[in-house]
């Protein structure tokens, strides 16, 4: 292997490489998080955790199409108490673990963060941006600057952990929302959540395929949108950005970082290239850096800006 070091720092958390398992993909159990860490991820994120247990939407919840993936899982999770048990003993995972926390009210978010206070999470991520779950994210108006400020402030009060605010690509004023998060004390922006929602109809059945009818679009289709969001955010905020959306190769990851991301989330890439997509992406990044005479991954962050 080469001498190129892929390690990055994200809000004082050291990642051995910039790839992060995005929330909602495989992050249901500690065992799976551990497996993903062993597959090369620099950090891993849990599936989003709410205060009460949630069954989520009925199946089909995840399908793919020629441009990517469509999902409406509906935030199924066992609730914070069971999650706190499941994600106790995180020491067995040798990379930082990020807790994704959701709520319908700002107090709700706070309760979940509080319920996780005995665990060893390295950061809290709050997605205010799901396009397909009633009561949460965009469907609950959490994507406005005001709501983002209020929720982030509430969580800021009760935790010293870094807070990552995860934004939607659907909102034209994404930079304003990001600034509101920054003002409220967020430590990083995660950009972006799934877009849309979208719908796919099975024409023989004459019905939408997803049980919830619509779902968030991710994967290749999302990448140019995510890159643009990260590019715009890089100019708008001073806190680091975790770029998420359609990354499945080393080239994609480098593109995301050149747009301004300090680290890169991977979700649908697990489908495109398998659970070791993290290792593959890192190897490809190293190879590209060698071929193009880069020796420090940090030097490419934001380099596409004039």
């Amino acid at each position: 292997m080469s001498s190129i070091d892929l390690s990055v720092h994200l809000c004082n958390i050291r990642l051995s490489n910039p790839t992060i398992l995005a929330s909602g993909i495989l992050g249901t159990t500690r065992a799976l998080l551990k497996r993903v860490a062993e597959s090369g991820a620099g950090a891993v994120t849990t599936k989003s955790i709410s205060n009460e247990p949630r069954e989520g939407h009925k199946n089909p919840t995840v399908i793919t199409f020629d441009g990517g993936m469509l999902n409406a899982v509906g935030y199924s999770n066992p609730g914070v108490d069971a999650a706190a048990r499941e994600f106790s003993n995180l020491q067995v995972i040798n990379v930082p673990v990020i807790a994704s926390v959701i709520g319908t009210q700002k107090e709700d978010f706070a309760r979940v963060v509080d319920g996780l206070s005995d665990t060893n999470f390295s950061a809290i991520e709050i997605p205010l941006s799901c396009p397909h779950t009633p009561g949460f994210g965009l469907l609950a108006g959490q994507g406005t600057p005001e709501a983002t400020f209020a929720i982030t402030s509430e969580i800021r009060k009760i935790t010293k952990l870094p807070i990552f605010v995860k934004l939607s690509p659907n909102i034209p004023e994404i930079c304003t929302v990001a600034k509101a998060a920054e003002d409220a004390g967020a430590d990083a922006i995660t950009a972006v959540n799934s877009m849309g929602p979208g719908m796919i109809i099975n024409i023989e059945a004459q019905k939408p395929i997803l049980h919830f009818k619509v779902g968030g679009v991710t994967g290749d289709a999302l990448r140019p949108i995510a890159i643009r969001c990260v590019y715009d955010l890089y100019k708008a905020v001073n806190i680091p950005i975790i770029g998420v959306g359609g990354v499945s190769t080393g080239r994609h990851s480098i593109e995301m970082m050149m747009a301004g991301a300090s680290a890169v989330g991977i979700g649908t890439g697990v489908y495109y290239r398998g659970i070791d997509v993290f290792k593959k992406v890192c190897e490809e990044m190293v190879q590209w850096m060698e071929e193009n005479n880069f020796d420090n991954i940090n030097s490419i962050i934001g380099i596409a800006h004039d």
Partner: protein, 254 residues
């Protein structure tokens, strides 16, 4: 590589037992015994089922009536449509020339059926609670049958039967599918006798293709790395025989 259900018409229905029916449909599946498909009923739900028949261009799934979804499948008539995507997962490793034994419990027998079709030197053990729940009686007339209540064949579990059988003979391989407690015992028994063994696990599934994390069993995705696991793999999986994961993600003791 597009994971969407495709609609098929049910072209035949076979009553397998009091509460199991096979639905047949025209579809050529590039399929390994033990793999499964996701079956969609529009507006209702989508659930995993093993392919239990594969004959030229006709495939079949054998459905045990349990809750809402399987009741709805039982209500389907010839000419009705369902959606199918897959096949998914890893099937059984077959070595056609060696003698083997399949141990099926209840509807688990469905996963083993196409394996039986593929093997030549095979002993089939099926366990059911009672006589009326036995399936594939005419399909596999040579089957050794066990019922809990003794209403047909051997009275007792398949594990008891297998244990006795192994006193007089052995197999190169044992394949099993059924209630997890039963499979756990079969695997243990085989380990003790030094017999190679594979078991097909059942976990709640959503995506079926390895992204949602719902089907976790000790870090293994049952939909991708399974549903069939070897005894060696199973011995590293703490949850095997002990823990299932509910739709919410909560762990429950079996």
């Amino acid at each position: 590589m597009i994971e969407q259900p495709r609609i098929v018409k049910i072209c035949d229905i076979l009553e397998e037992s009091a509460n199991v029916r096979t639905l047949f449909f025209k579809r050529i599946l590039d399929f390994m015994p033990g793999q499964f498909v996701m079956v969609w009923i529009p507006l209702l739900d989508e659930k995993p089922f093993t392919i239990s028949y594969m004959q030229k261009d006709i495939a079949g799934i054998s459905v045990l009536k349990r809750g809402i979804f399987t009741q709805a499948l039982h209500a389907k008539k010839i000419g009705d449509s369902i959606g199918i995507r897959g096949p998914y997962g890893k099937g059984f490793h077959t070595q056609t020339k060696l003698n083997a034994c399949v141990v099926g419990g209840g509807i688990g027998m469905a996963s083993l059926a196409t394996l039986v079709d593929a093997l030549s030197d095979i002993t089939i053990i099926q366990g059911a609670r009672t006589s009326s729940e036995i399936i594939y009686k005419t399909r596999f007339p040579e089957m050794k049958l066990c019922t809990d209540d003794g209403s047909f064949g051997f009275k007792g579990t398949t594990v008891d039967f297998l244990r006795e059988l192994l006193n007089t003979r052995t197999f190169h391989k044992v394949y099993t599918c059924g209630p997890e407690k039963m499979m756990y015992q079969v695997v243990e028994l085989c380990k003790n006798r030094g017999i190679d063994c594979e078991a097909s696990l059942d976990r709640y599934m959503k995506c079926g293709f390895g992204v949602c994390g719902q089907c976790d069993c000790s870090g293994q995705r049952v939909c991708i790395e399974g549903p069939v696991f070897t005894a060696t793999e199973l011995s590293r999986m703490e949850d095997f025989g002990r823990i299932h994961i509910l739709k919410t993600g909560e762990r429950i003791t079996i």
